[in-house]
Symmetry: C2
Subunit: 310 residues, 2 copies
Amino acid sequence: MPTDEHCLRPPVLRAGDTVMLVSPSGPTRPERVARGIELLTGWGLRPVLAPNAYARQGYLAGGDELRAADLNTAFADPEVRGVICTRGGYGAQRVVDLIDMAAVRRDPKVVAGFSDITALQFALWRGARLAGVHGPGAAWLDDRTPLRSAESLHAALMTTGPVTVEAVREEETYPVRVPGRAEGRLLGGNLCLITASIGTPDMPDLTGAVLLIEEVQEPPYKVDRMLTHLRRCGALAGVAGVAVGQFTECADGWDTTIVDVLAERLGDLGVPVLGGLPIGHGVGQLTVPVGTPAVLDATAGTLTTSPAVR
Amino acid sequence: MPTDEHCLRPPVLRAGDTVMLVSPSGPTRPERVARGIELLTGWGLRPVLAPNAYARQGYLAGGDELRAADLNTAFADPEVRGVICTRGGYGAQRVVDLIDMAAVRRDPKVVAGFSDITALQFALWRGARLAGVHGPGAAWLDDRTPLRSAESLHAALMTTGPVTVEAVREEETYPVRVPGRAEGRLLGGNLCLITASIGTPDMPDLTGAVLLIEEVQEPPYKVDRMLTHLRRCGALAGVAGVAVGQFTECADGWDTTIVDVLAERLGDLGVPVLGGLPIGHGVGQLTVPVGTPAVLDATAGTLTTSPAVR
């Protein structure tokens, strides 16, 4: 593994640590988070709810002030050692500019989530170079995130070894591949949120990075539009490689497959591309650190990432 | 009307002029364009088909080379006096960098279309400061674009007077209003394509401009995301006003209305905002010039725009 200390690694979570469940994006309900709380408790963690974790205002988990206040509460409270987002949805970009980044830098904590939480992780990357954990939220459904998903999140939060994810044939994006080996920092997450960061200060410099992308319920032409946007704004010009996760329910009912779109828009970048990674909104979602050095071996079919925690 | 010659106004279309029907985005079929050809012919124009107007490759009207070649054929041919796009869909951004802008500047022609064609009009604005016509394509459906829509397109293409559009109570976005009067160049079109231009050279400088937005089939949270994106990238910081067209089938099945989202995300910009304009994907779509000076009178409820043609 390449070493790179130009990121802020929060301390590994240990049994007895308190973690705060926060909803920076869409609303959730107690019954949807019950299984997540059970899992976290089973690992010896002490999950506590942010004051407004169950707030609700249309498609948002309460107003911007409430969601920002919850994030800042979690970052400021020295008892809280980790921030577990309940779910994505939409709304993080409305509040990320309200985060007290000095508090984040003063007492770095691991922040876990994905989907809309990509926007939060991008903001924390910009404001604090904080490595993050791209994995399922506390709104846990065993059908979608079975035992191997739980074990993967546990490993990323509570152990300090590198994380390896293998491309698997069962994944729809498995045929997307440009062989080769790339080293670089793993940055990215949900494609919609990556593109919705273009032109804002949160858009990370992808030069030399391994870009991670995944998506859910966006038709092929919209995936094309987002990748074309990334190409046209120059974001992909210096990328070292692309790690392609799950593109869940993206091609249903379309003649064009998602493999067609991904292969066409990524295949000519001149860098390794590895599809088939079980990372995203599909069944069996695995967890990966983001912000830390990674090796994308598109010949062997593996993505290996340095831990987010130390 | 304010005067401003910092744009390239193509000649007005006259009876006998040849116009070329081009498909820079999604595919169409002869039967869908038949009524459009009939209308154009009825106005005394001579519609001709671009060589690949009916080409088809998945969600694209043929490969990028074909669509770009058709555009360049239309711009290069001195017989062709106007370019009428058949429809939007998706795909213009894949080809706009292949347009021969020297040819566009050498012999400016009016380009009509909307939706995905916003991307083409942005590129022509960047490359040639070419004023355009934001109106229905040749794939014409009388149910959606009745007589008043045809008359409006005719006026924008074949007359040189200013174009006035009134906000109407029947439009879903009618309650979106911040009174006041703004003068500025009218720029914009489809919200998705505007946001998909952020960070690319095609994104116009909206400082002092009246921004036109319309959308179709995007749920409220995605409209929120797009407007939040425009806010966060700084694009709205210097805008003179916002002209809000139709947001068609955007809020079906959601608790949050599209008026809520638009009012919340635009209402605090400190500039006039006028909703209820029948411009976009809804029934009775009217045509407006883009790239030319406009007056947005959000007190009186009118948008008046200088002609795109001279």
